[in-house]
Symmetry: C2
Subunit: 609 residues, 2 copies
């Protein structure tokens, strides 16, 4: 773990890295410079925490065409070797120079690096030379390798950094040409694909492996195949991680590293495999004395029946087809009051094995109080606090916890749960994506960014391969319109139907609180899309929304925000449509705001500007 990944002082960072189970750190010079610990004291503190110091990073711009500058840089190197001796670290990172006076001649560069390597060797130390993607002369890993090869100095080797290699389109297959003992160090970082200056991309937008677009398992495979014997170090410059709780970031980082190793052709860790998931068992809503009856009323109008009562807890089971909702009046109160998604339960044939994988990936496994007749149910906590249950719906599964009420309902055509959408704090958006992909083995379904009325909203789906489980994670970039008290961070459960028009008709007849869609929306839709006139008339009549993707089309409707931050959606997928109607999000948000302003709902924001 490079200390630069984490927020706080050096003391904070070391405690976080050790707490997450890292066994070594790269110390960034600015962290040491700001620390009251002398280098030898730092080494002792690290040892107490079980942390080795694997690398020191003091150097920028070692080589120079100006002889006086080059000489001064060597003097600086000597001073830093003194620091390293006190730290007990033998490897120093030297990045390719970026200054205007960087050496542009390979022979001269080789000579200057060799001179520095001589100094290092005198101290029993060695230099790991790294090509920065924006280096003035050396900017690709193979160029850095040519220089190291030419120097042929035992104290000069390579540092490979996945960002610098992959951001420039470098081919890691070429590592095979490098003897393993010349690979002195390895830094791993992922990143989203961004079309911007590579330095800014690197300094602000790196991510932990598995959170971005790079193929880190392949990269690491090539490095290991070349015989690299050293540590895997994460070096991630990220604006969010720089200001987030370092203990939490370090756990996210370690989970990323464990998942990366598990994705290698030969998993050195032998994690329990990702569980096969067979769909949603249920979604559990935490309710209180006011929101419980209100949501029960709405579920009734949506065609659900109250079919079961938990044997030992104040929990109601509501069902329609394979769509199931629990109303839990005994869950801890949410901060917002009202109602919130407390848990999502996915069906797994082997909940115990799934929980073992989750635990191995540092997911907090939750204790479950279980009555005599109650079924096995594993639960882990997701980054946003939502409980994820792994459960079986069969006769010996979780339904056995409920005593049948005998309740029935005509239904409104809902067949199951299509997806659950959970708003994430922005700081844990990438963490949440990695959590669901690694712990539950879900696949990234791609992301989108929408200019919503109260600010940009980023979202991405994570799904099982067969789409039986779909989860949508979203987050407000910056903040979410906290000037408006009527705008909570929403959560919703989307149910599936095979005939949304018929379902909508039934819901309206039952007085369900459906969200009104402006006529302007359908006027625009008619101008944009060639729709069957009858379908367009039905969409207008029932206030349905529409989207298309490459494969198919999508019809959907929303309820108003019902209590706290919860609302429902009903969707119909046609011809394999695979999205979530994100294009209609602004229309939904504006309508939600109007509906809540009209009812005076919405708790005032407590955040000051």
């Amino acid at each position: 773990m490079a200390t630069v990944c984490l927020s706080g002082t050096l003391e904070d960072k070391l405690a976080a890295a050790a707490g997450a189970g890292f066994d070594g750190v790269e110390v960034f010079e600015p962290d040491l410079v700001a620390s009251p610990w002398a280098p030898a004291e730092l080494a002792a503190r690290c040892a107490d925490l079980g942390l080795g110091i694997d690398l020191y990073q003091p150097f920028r711009d070692l080589d120079s065409t100006d002889p006086a500058t080059a000489a001064r840089n060597l003097r600086r190197a000597r001073a830093k070797f003194d620091v390293m001796a006190d730290l007990g670290v033998d490897t120093v990172l030297v990045c390719s120079a970026v200054a205007p006076d960087a050496v542009r001649d390979d022979d001269e560069l080789t000579a200057q690096l060799s001179a520095a390597a001589d100094l290092a060797a005198e101290r029993g130390m060695r230099i790991a030379y790294e090509a920065l993607a924006w280096g003035s002369h050396v900017s690709t890993w193979d160029h850095s390798w040519r220089v190291v090869q030419a120097a042929d100095h035992p104290a000069l080797g390579l540092c490979l950094d996945s960002f610098h290699v992959l951001s420039r389109g470098g081919d890691p297959a070429g590592f095979a040409a490098v003897p393993g003992e010349k690979l002195f160090f390895l830094q791993l970082a992922d990143a989203p694909r961004l079309d911007m200056d590579v330095l800014q991309w690197s300094r602000h937008h790196r991510l932990f492996p598995g959170q971005g677009a790079f193929d880190l398992p392949a990269f690491l495979g090539h490095v290991l195949a070349a015989g690299y014997p050293g540590p895997l170090s994460l070096e991630v410059f990220n604006d969010v991680f720089r200001q987030s709780d370092p203990a939490r970031t370090a756990v996210d980082a370690m989970r990323s590293l464990l998942a990366l190793e598990a994705a290698l052709p030969v998993d050195p860790l032998v994690l329990p495999p990702a569980p096969a998931l067979h769909g949603y068992a249920f979604t559990e809503l935490a309710v209180d004395g006011t929101s419980g009856p209100a949501l029960a009323d709405v579920l009734g109008r949506l065609g659900f029946a109250h079919t079961g009562q938990h044997r030992s807890k104040p929990v109601q089971l509501w069902e329609q087809g394979a769509a199931r909702v629990l109303l839990n009046a005994g869950a801890p109160r949410t901060a917002e009051g009202g109602a919130a998604v407390a848990a999502v339960a996915v069906e797994s044939a082997d909940p115990t094995a799934a929980a073992a994988r989750a635990e191995a990936l540092l997911a907090p496994v939750l204790p479950r109080s279980r009555g005599a007749a109650e079924a096995e149910l594993s639960a882990v906590a997701a980054p946003d606090g939502t409980q994820v249950f792994l459960a079986r719906t069969g006769p010996d599964g979780w339904p056995a916890d409920f005593l049948p009420t005998g309740g029935t309902a005509a239904g409104a055509g809902l067949t199951g749960t299509d997806h659950v959408a959970l708003t994430q704090p922005y700081d844990s958006y990438d963490e949440a994506g990695l959590f669901y992909r690694s712990v539950l083995g879900l696949a990234d379904g791609g992301g989108s960014e929408v200019a919503a009325p109260f600010g940009l909203v980023r979202s991405r789906g994570v799904t099982t391969p067969d789409r039986a489980v779909r989860l949508v994670l979203s987050a407000s970039v910056l903040r979410r319109g906290d000037w408006s008290p009527a705008v909570p961070d929403p959560q919703h459960v989307a149910f599936a139907t095979d005939d949304l028009v018929a379902t909508a008709r039934a819901l309206r007849a039952a007085g369900a609180p459906l969200l009104a869609v402006p006529a302007n929306y359908h006027d625009d839709l008619a101008a944009r899309v060639d729709l069957d006139p009858q379908l367009l008339a039905d969409l207008r009549e029932h206030g349905l929304l529409h989207d298309t993707d490459a494969g198919g089309s999508f019809l959907h409707l929303y309820t108003e925000v019902l209590a706290g931050r919860v609302f429902f959606e009903v969707v119909q997928r046609l011809s394999g449509y695979d999205g979530y109607g994100a294009v209609n999000t602004p229309v939904r948000m504006a309508a939600h705001r109007r509906a809540r302003q009209a009812t005076g709902a919405g708790t005032p924001s407590t955040r000051s500007r």
Copy 2:
């Protein structure tokens, strides 16, 4: 004002634009689509608010090489002309196409645009054609002009957008070749210089005129010289504005527009001129029963004397040389409790004229309750709530409000106030910069971004030309380490000395609470910079920090955070150093955190993750 600049629903946006004094809007289609108001009703609401609708923006990708698509686009155009007729707007924006099927042949493009212009003309409407900087075929304003010229259609003219022109390095001097009546519309936006994909730059980082790097007065001058007769419209896509209070953003926008007009060679508004400022009169700290005596004690140890007591308010005047601090026990309590900078007072020969300018630029002018013998003092509120006083220090000025106490002190060599540094909420960082530049006529001294221990911190100085008044505004990008309760958003007052080593010696002798600087800092400094050995020894002995810039060097020291969020700095500028030692900010922040952890100070954060 384009509705896309503002956060909220269309209703929110119109109220905000009208409230800030705009007389017209550009309606973005997504705002209308999400609105429950039919177009005619929207027109009526706008009229009620005193807003014209100057432009409608429905079109992307009008032209197409696919005849079927091109025909469908014309049908879509007809539908939108119906909407425009109901809106009562006669100008529609058509951007150059960005789709893969965009027409690549100028003759064909001219023909398709002329066909659309025919349709518009039938309705008494007209098309303003704009080159998007990332258009597939047309991406420069002069190319768009060639196409419009070739079409020679009375219903087809140009829309000029400063971002699209200036981001591509276009020369606005060329507008002189365009007859004024072919300039159908003008959109103004500023932006910082960013090395990134121009589309992302445009969609996320635009700013109001005067907040970025473009020369908008020159641009606008060329447009007006060409005879453009229409409105000046702001079209600013900005991630922060999208989620900030629209009423506030609209005022910021109007201030920007007023300042832009005032910067034209002939100011059509005739704003009162920016005041000549002659330095700091004083800085006023709001204190309570605990922090008041604590700060008084520290000021005493810093060599200040309590020289005056306000005639009618519980305010103490402390002085040393020209450095003056007021401790005000009667100011409104700050949210943090403890202490905070309540006001900065700058010297102006004509406070009344300065206040008139501030008022003309929509700065809230604050009422002052004044006793019989009290001096004239104008006050305006800055975006972060800090009061800015414009005051005279002469015998007839503000000091007359204070009864001398006879207090004296030996002093510690402080000669005056060098700068005041105020942390801004991130959402109002650009607003604050524009406020000080336009209202007080300060100049932008350049910005910096520092990777501080608790997240990225952006800062910029604003100064008078002679540097008599220096103000430093800073903001945490995203949030500022709210996981750490010991880290408040700080504010500080920096005093000047001509001999920092002597001052430091005096302060230590007096027991001033100086911030400890780690030995590692000076070890690194010795390795980095060739310093005189005696100076280095002095820096080590007294815990002084050091920086250099192109011109000179800088010595400075800090106190601990004293109460609430306030601390002090003492600086010595050598050979015209013009910065603020930003490179040492991380060291200072880490030391502040340690000092506050050691004393258990710092209020717990109330924000949850």
